[in-house]
């Protein structure tokens, strides 16, 4: 059995667990714990080690989706999770511009870990307060060449299109390497 993995990262409460849950064929193996820090009590639980989802491709191939813990104090897990990844998705909460700087930092950190393709997904685009995708590109200082995609992590089709865009990017990079 061959296995490959994609990492889903992003700041706290960006929607990483939901993202994986939307497409995983197994119940996401989650390491959620009750939140202890007052400042971060905008949701009940958070991921402390990783989320783990699976998509069986065929008899010989399985894709694993790993979600990183969002809280900064668990960032020692990031490097371990990024080891051997096919590519990564940086999920950003479009309604919380206060997390953009951290998203930028996470993006740079993952780029430093491995030179693999990535896409940025602007999550919660169905919310009324969501930032416009073009404004987010400017605020996050994302190069025009990098794919910044709209996303709703609870919507399977949206999640699929983010993963597909990442895979198209991986394929394009392989073609470039060949030529």
């Amino acid at each position: 059995m061959q296995t490959v993995k994609i990492v889903v990262t992003g700041p706290f409460n960006a929607g990483k667990t939901e993202f994986i849950r939307s497409v995983s064929e197994i119940d996401v193996v989650s390491t959620e714990r009750k939140i202890s820090t007052e400042a971060e009590k905008i949701k009940e639980t958070t991921t402390v080690a990783m989320d783990f989802g699976r998509i069986t491709v065929d008899e010989d191939l399985v894709l694993y989706l790993f979600g990183t813990p969002g809280q900064k104090r668990f960032d020692f897990m990031w490097e371990i999770l990024s080891e051997g990844m096919l590519g990564f998705v940086v999920l950003v909460d479009s309604t919380r511009p206060e997390t953009f700087r951290e998203a930028r930092s996470i993006l740079e950190t993952f780029r430093a870990y491995a030179p693999t393709p990535y896409v940025v997904a602007a999550n919660k685009q169905d919310h009324r307060d969501a930032w416009d995708i073009d404004d987010m590109r400017l605020a996050l200082r994302i190069d025009p060449k990098v794919k910044l995609l709209t996303c709703v992590a609870t919507n399977k089709e949206k999640v699929k299109s983010v993963l597909l865009e990442l895979l198209y990017g991986i394929l394009a990079e392989m073609e470039e390497d060949r030529s």
Binding site: T3, T56, L61, A114, R141, L164
Partner: protein, 271 residues
Amino acid sequence: MALKGNLRDFTITQLLNLINLARKTGTLVVEGPGEIARVFFREGKLSYAAIEQEDNSLAAVLQRTKRITNSQYRLIKEKASRMSDKELGLVLINAGYVSQDDILVSLQQYFLAVVRRLFTWGEGFFRFDQGELYINGKITVRIDLENLIIEGSRQLRELEKLQEEIPTLDMALKFTDRPGTNLRNINLSVQEWRVVSFVNPKNSMRQIARATKMNDLEIRRMIYGLLQAGLVEIIRPAGVAPPAPGRIFPTQNKEEQKSLVNRLIERIRSL
């Protein structure tokens, strides 16, 4: 027992706070990036500070604060190198070159500058040895730590924010490919120009900092400004092999890898 630790876990500001509140007397030795600082405290007040790799003599301090000229400094170094700072201070006051105030103000400025420099060291080891100070012949002062602690906390917050923006200095910079941007039309400070002159995919930000003699905080400040202005972007340094990404594909064959990605695409489409 000596207080020992790493600046990553216990910051200089926290140390100063501890020394201030406990009114400690002793010597703080900090081993930072390429430099070692010794800071002396008496009853919770800053008494003396020096960087080992620098000329910390009174003559050098007075020359840096322009209380004496370069030629006077050279003359003192030639003729009075064996004198202690206290002896030299008396000679200079008696000769009318400087006043007692000049000396004290210059030393205070220098000691404060040393401690401020420590605020910019994010990495390093420290040791605080409690007990009598062995600084014979040196002129000591008494500086309250409260203002320094407030200033240090501010700098720390700034550094933390900048570290979020620029998490590592091991990446390089390149000019953005934005048509119509002309550097000559942009007002940059002398310091920014110096950084700009080193912008090249071959130079890591750490190398630029070293070449421009800037510390972590200063180089991050400069680069953050250039990033915000959209003039530069962060890239992996040219010629530096990226970290081994580990085994990504279960096969080394390029065609098989491509087929694998295509199978993934087909599967996700069918979900």
